[in-house]
């Protein structure tokens, strides 16, 4: 199985800032890469360059030994053996479900019983066998999504691209579709690239997460790694719900900060003249109420069902997020311990 390699990839549409600039990454064979970032960060443009709908302004895309595109050459999408689930699903309204799913086979000249069998297999996998003769217009959003997925499945593509496939579905359907994607990934063995702005989706599905911001690749790592050890304030602020604090941390300190060091930094916030201020990420699950801790004022308290989300004010006014089991009225003071912090 070959490896998908993006080498110093850039795309400039000619409108000021390049949409994508200097993105280099390698997707492990059969991997599931989530491209994560806020809207307008260039992740969809990267996806469309991999598919061949856009030509890079600079850099190149290779699949194994094969050059897919660079600034001067581009293999047309129809010859890349890739498949894609579009955000709008892109089902052809004039074909039935079976015809939609079987179209890539038809183009490859497969017909008759071989066609029937492949289409039936693909539809069975997404549990749509009974809908084969319907038109897409007669399906619900989740069913259309599964038709689009079956269409990707049917030709064993090398790379499957997913462009915010769950963006148009409700919360409940998303969970079951995530499960379908996971099964699909295991069965097909294809390399999958998944564009999303939802970090929970990215964490739940991917073997690797690549965070993009303003056209640049900020960090790429497995989900647990990127959550525990984010690089830089952008990634730290984007992944999870942590607060990025400016704290005076001594030069020699390790990146993972424990409570004693944090206590010193938090209480020493006023005397920052001696030490440079650094970005420190503190996740709310690491802030807990404890009589031993330092007294912080509660700014707001929001009930979220399974817990209370608190916003706390540090002595110098910086906001810290925490979770609590019980409500604390805004303006009250309580003692908290910060068990972990991560210097960005």
């Amino acid at each position: 199985m070959a490896q998908l390699i993006l080498n110093h990839l850039s795309k400039d549409f000619g409108g000021g800032r390049p949409a994508v600039s200097d993105v280099s990454l390698k997707v492990r064979p059969g991997g599931f890469l989530a491209l994560l970032g806020p809207s307008g960060c260039g992740k969809t443009t990267v996806l469309r360059m991999i598919a061949g709908f856009e030509r890079p302004s600079d850099g190149s895309i290779d699949f194994g030994e094969r050059r897919l595109s660079d600034a001067s050459l581009a293999l047309p999408p129809e010859r890349r053996n890739m498949a894609m689930v579009f955000q709008s699903y892109a089902l052809w309204p004039h074909m039935t479900v079976a015809e939609n799913v079987g179209y890539p086979l038809k183009v490859r000249g497969i017909s008759g019983s071989a066609w029937q069998r492949s289409v039936a297999d693909a539809l069975a996998l997404v549990k749509l066998t009974d809908y084969a003769d319907r038109r897409p217009a007669a399906l619900s959003g989740g069913q259309r999504q599964r038709v689009a997925l079956a269409r990707c499945l049917v030709t064993s593509p090398d790379v499957v691209l997913l462009d915010e496939p769950l963006a148009n579905l409700d919360q409940h359907l998303r969970k079951s579709m995530e499960e379908t994607f996971r099964i699909f990934h295991e069965r097909s063995g294809a390399t999958m690239i998944y564009v999303t702005h939802d970090q929970a989706e990215a964490m739940a599905l991917a073997t690797d997460v690549a965070v993009m911001h303003e056209g640049r690749l900020m960090q790429m790592a497995p989900p647990a790694e990127i959550y525990a050890r984010p690089e830089g304030a952008v990634v730290g602020g984007l992944i999870g719900r942590g607060a990025v604090l400016k704290l005076a941390v001594p030069d020699g300190a390790p990146r993972g900060l424990e409570w004693p060091a944090l206590r010193e930094a938090l209480s020493g916030v006023g005397g920052a003249d001696t030490q440079p201020l650094r970005d420190v990420l503190v996740r709310p699950e690491h802030v807990r109420r404890d009589g031993e801790g330092m007294a912080l004022r509660v700014m707001s308290c929001v009930f979220e069902g399974e817990r209370f989300a608190l916003t706390l004010a540090l002595p110098d006014g910086q906001a810290l997020k925490a979770y609590g089991d019980s409500a604390i009225g805004p303006g009250d003071t309580a003692r908290f311990v910060v068990s972990q912090g991560w210097r960005l």
């Binding site: 549409f13 409108g15 949409a19 307008g40 969809t44 443009t45 469309r48 598919a51 061949g52 709908f53 856009e54 030509r55 595109s69 581009a74 293999l75 047309p76 999408p77 129809e78 010859r79 890349r80 053996n81 890739m82 498949a83 894609m84 579009f86 955000q87 709008s88 892109a90 089902l91 052809w92 309204p93 004039h94 179209y103 890539p104 183009v107 490859r108 269409r151 030709t155």
Partner: protein, 594 residues
Amino acid sequence: MLERNDLRSRHRWLRFPIRSRMKSAPRSRAGVRAGASPAAEPRWLVPFVLGCLFLLCLLPLFSLAKAGFAGLVSGRSIGVLTEPATFAAIRNTLITATGGMVVSVVIGALFAFSVALTDVRGKLALSFAFMLPMMIPPQVTALAWVEMTGPASPLLKTLGLAPPLGSPQPLYSLMGISLLLGVQHAPLVFLALKAGLSASPRDGVEAARLSGATPFRVFCDIVAPLSLPGLIAGAAIAFVSGVGNFGIPAILGIPAGIEVLPTLIYTRLASFGAGTFGEIALLSSLIAVIAAAGLLLQQRALAGRDYRIIGLSGGNAAFSLGRFRPFVELVLVAILFLVLVAPLAALVASSLVPAYGVPLNWQTVSLRAYEEILIRQAMTLKALGNSVFLATSAAFGLLAVAVPAAYLMTRRKGWLANTLGILVEIPYALPGIVLAVAFILTFAAPLPVLNVSLYGTIWIILIAYFSSFLAVSLKPVMSAFLQMDPSLEEAARLAGAGFLRRMRDVILPLVAPAAGAAIILVFLIAANELTVSALLWSAGTQTLGVAIFNLDDSGSSDLAAALSVLVVVMVVLLMAALEALANYLPKGVLPWRN
């Protein structure tokens, strides 16, 4: 003999700002989507489309400019610019076009506000009926009104209201021409205004009501300012269409010796002389200048009035008329009766009388005129055959240009889409009579290499139709492409389908309904066309429009009326066919639907 620029005005509602549309497309995603895909289409496609558009759009303009310039330089034609007849024609053109614009604005605005903003009943039927005057050829409209109001009017005679024989026909005047231009072009104002009124969405009106404004205040403060751009645009289109109209002044003006610029070109061409080509080139340039001045005025008036809808708009605003509703409905129906039902009834009546001036009743009714034109007169059958051939060829042939052109204009951006947009606008911005003159000048000389002259054959009419109706064909196809999700084609590409394959399997099936509408629309307009064929026909190549005009000109008003009735029946049937297709068409293709 013929009128030609009416056709242009009739399809002026199809005017669509291609370039502004491309620019105003949502930038973020659409901008990315429209990007050039590697090898998205075969190499011959761009040269093919550019070549066709050059031939249809740019070449005639070059010939016009060349002949006009040559006429000026040689001095043989320059005299036409200082003749009193030319001054009179310019003056008459301006008066009738302005008068027509005022009438159009009054009637069109009344219908647009009533249909778009109030709770009158039968909106679809009202819109459909109100659009009919635009689809009926102007020479037929003029004939119908002449039959209705003249001393020989079978309708008035039957009702006992006819003025005495020998009294002047009141419509043979500048007032009459203005009134009929107004009636003919009122649907253009209606359409422009209705499109503009979609900018006053229901939530905006409701917000104003909640702010404490009475319905009258809402109309003054919210609806009227928002609809002003549409009104200005509609007025400008009505003016430009009036400047280029040939059919109405030809039927009403020529008998009274009132010349406007289009009829002046026509008479000059009929009395062919040494400097004629230079003269008609200069005269058509005058029309083009007046039309351009009208459009420039419109742009000045529209400056700073770009009110786009912000956010989601609900349905259109609906004002409840309460107890005034029956009154408003009565006024609308009365207007429709006056501008549509009564003239058509007079036309039908005229076609049924056995001879000119005989009152119509059960003893005198006769189908002799129909028998005459359908069985005895070889000329009308020949004209029918010619028109059907021309309209069918134009309708189907144009698709071969319109589909690839619309594909390139929606899928590509940058210089190519902009160039195509400008090229397509050229024949569209020119009044039809100007275009016809340009084609005469282009093809008067034998073709190079082949050494055959198209002038005087049916083929020059066909090429002129291609040019004239390109925009009519392009608009529905363009709407279909604009409303098609580009990912449908991209999915087909990833599925492995090459250009021709995905054209056949995905794109053509999806634009088929719009292409069907384009075929019917072009056929409808081309089959009734007069302005182009009036200048380009010769023995054996007359069209239906020419036949009606010539029958009337030679005094056979009963035969002209009968042929006109058949034409109106055909128009209504074709419009009904389009209406039947309505549910499969992209939004905005059928003008009488919301």
